[in-house]
């Protein structure tokens, strides 16, 4: 074999191997998608939206409790997390800038927290919010306030609020980083034009800069909500679970993800089926948010 033939041979071999690994990878992923869709369509019917959880074997069992619980958990953490994340992003981009040490530290820490194990966030929130000995309740000031005003704290039992706190902690870094990136794309001349009209900085930010980056921020919000919607581990010991409908956030509350986990690991076939239905609904929701986020970005680029 000549040198050239050898090079061509090696080239073909590597191309083949790489295509093969792509095929293997994509085959696995298609496999998961197919079983998700097959099982999901098989398991979905109207009962799921009408009935709450029931003991195994009951005809009239559904996921109403988990759907409503999930919507409440995600909805409230979005309402809290999005403004906080955007405002922190505003600080990084508008007050901190590229060179500020503090802003860069916040950026690095948020980048790390985005990939940090979410189960640890759950453990942390448990220790902070649910543990009655937590420093949140036992420090001098709060102990006095709780005693004096007879405040009901979240201490002592699992609650929807604890789950919301955990989800918000996970959501903020994602929104903060996209907001920061998107605001920096807004041209400086726009800010200068607004300043020249005599607008104070906060007005420039709220009415010019944030408006200019609206679609980009929206993408960040959609992706952040999508990411948080699939979280299970941080909810295990915060919002816990409930097999029945509950809309009181100071009590344990059902979520699709934890319900899915409990049902899938149960030995009952009808519960497992409900688990697949939950998996299907949740994945479709998350995929829709992701696709929406992309469409918004592409539309903006076309403008």
């Amino acid at each position: 074999m000549t040198h050239t033939e050898k090079r061509i041979f090696i080239n073909k071999m590597v191309m083949g191997l790489s295509t093969l690994s792509a095929i293997i990878g994509i085959a696995f992923l298609l496999w998961i998608l197919t079983i998700l869709i097959m099982n999901g369509i098989d398991a979905i019917n109207w009962n799921i939206f009408i009935f709450e959880g029931a003991p195994p074997g009951y005809e009239e069992s559904g996921l109403k409790h988990a759907l409503i619980g999930q919507a409440m958990l995600i909805g409230v953490s979005t309402i809290i997390g999005v403004p906080l994340g955007i405002l922190a992003g505003v600080y990084l981009s508008e007050y901190g800038g590229r060179k500020s040490k503090l802003a860069n530290l916040v950026r690095d820490i948020s980048d790390i927290m985005m990939s940090a194990p979410s189960i640890v966030i759950g453990v942390f929130v448990y220790a902070m919010v649910i543990d009655p000995d937590s420093i949140l309740y036992t420090n001098f000031v709060s102990a006095f306030l709780i005693e004096y005003f007879e405040i009901q704290t979240l201490a002592g039992n699992f609650s929807g609020w604890a789950g919301i706190i955990a989800l918000t902690i996970i959501m903020i870094p994602i929104i903060l980083r996209t907001t920061d990136d998107m605001l920096q794309l807004v041209p400086t001349t726009l800010r200068e034009a607004a300043f020249a009209l005599g607008a104070p900085k906060y007005k420039v930010i709220l009415q010019v800069v944030i408006r200019g980056a609206k679609t980009g921020i929206l993408t960040g919000v959609l992706l952040g909500v999508a990411r948080v919607s699939g979280e299970t581990a941080p909810l295990l010991f915060t919002s816990f679970n409930d097999n029945f409908l509950n809309t009181d956030l100071s009590e344990p509350i059902a979520s699709l993800t934890v319900t899915m986990f409990n049902y899938a690991t149960s030995p009952y076939e009808d519960w497992q089926k409900l688990g697949w239905a939950a998996a299907f609904i949740l994945s479709m929701f998350i995929l829709t948010l992701n696709i929406l986020g992309r469409v918004v970005l592409i539309k903006r680029k076309k403008k």
């Binding site: 690994s21 792509a22 696995f28 998961i32 998700l36 903020i172 906060y202 581990a233 998350i286």
Partner: protein, 284 residues
């Protein structure tokens, strides 16, 4: 008036930005404080002791730590070559018409929640392993494979992005010198994208080591160093997910916090190493 409002706005955004630092610090602080009784009782022996017996109040994290390391190593061993293969395929080999649809679907798969990968593993993969190797089908090998499949889309997408940053002009010059596709990939694309590729792999490792739901279904939570790769095992997140809600003794509870602290320190270090050393900001 405007001045006061300006000040107020500045300070409120600043305090929220600081809140993120505060929460991160608080996580370290609270975990340490809650783990204190176990740290006092076991010290560093906790990390090397392999007996985990809640009824005897004896706690050693060695099996969980080893389980974490072994399952993620196995996952990386399987996923890294596949991810690089997929990335090479997507950035260099696939025809242009295929690049976008395949690339986007891989990115979308990275968004599917890990609990669903876990369900897939339990219902579809465990029986296959059981038929092939006997035993329960639940264990280290299954966990490693499920983890590998879970991190694959993420790692492939980041690696592809890194490879795509190679300027066309560099690749074209190499082709002009008579290089084959493989020559161009190994001598131009991979060296150019090296930092990104290594960073993607380390970041995937950092994520995999803290991953809970994908492995909780299929690992078995047995606090023993497995003698066979198909034996049930445990990992730190799996032990936390299974035992945290039912721990009753103070020392048991504290030991779980100790575990959580070890996990947080390990993954925090791995992720920050990946982000700071390889995936520097402002690369775009």
């Amino acid at each position: 008036m405007n001045k006061i409002l300006d000040r107020f706005f500045h300070l409120s955004t600043l305090s929220i930005a600081l809140l993120t630092l505060l929460v991160t610090g608080a996580i370290f602080g609270v975990l340490f404080q809650e783990a204190k009784p176990a740290i006092d009782a076991f010290g560093f022996d906790f990390l090397t002791n392999s007996k985990w017996a809640p009824n005897l109040e004896k706690f050693g994290a060695f099996p969980a730590i080893m389980g974490s390391i072994m399952s993620t190593d196995l996952a990386m061993f399987l996923a890294v070559p596949l991810a690089i293969g997929v990335a090479i395929f997507l950035s260099e080999i696939a025809p242009d018409k295929m690049k976008t649809p395949v690339g986007v679907s891989i990115e979308l798969l990275a968004a599917i929640p890990s609990v669903i990968y876990g369900m897939w593993g339990l219902f579809y993969f465990v029986p296959i392993i059981r038929d092939m190797f006997g035993g329960l089908g639940i264990g280290l090998l299954t966990a490693g494979i499920v983890l590998a499949v879970m991190v694959l889309p993420f790692m492939a997408a980041v690696t592809r992005d890194a490879m795509n940053t190679t300027p066309d002009i560099l690749k074209e010059s190499a082709y002009a010198l008579g290089g084959t596709k493989w020559d161009v990939i190994k001598d131009v694309v991979i060296p150019y994208a090296k930092a990104g590729i290594i960073g993607a792999a380390i970041l995937a490792l950092g994520r995999a080591i803290g991953e809970t739901m994908a492995v909780t279904f299929v690992m078995g939570n047995v606090h023993k160093i497995p003698s066979l790769i198909t034996d049930p095992a445990t990992s730190i997140p799996v032990a936390l997910a299974n035992e945290f809600a039912e721990a009753d003794e103070d020392l048991y509870f504290s030991s779980l916090f100790y575990l959580a602290m070890v996990l947080f320190i390990i993954s925090f270090s791995i992720i920050s190493f990946a982000k700071l050393a390889f995936l520097k900001r402002g690369r775009k």
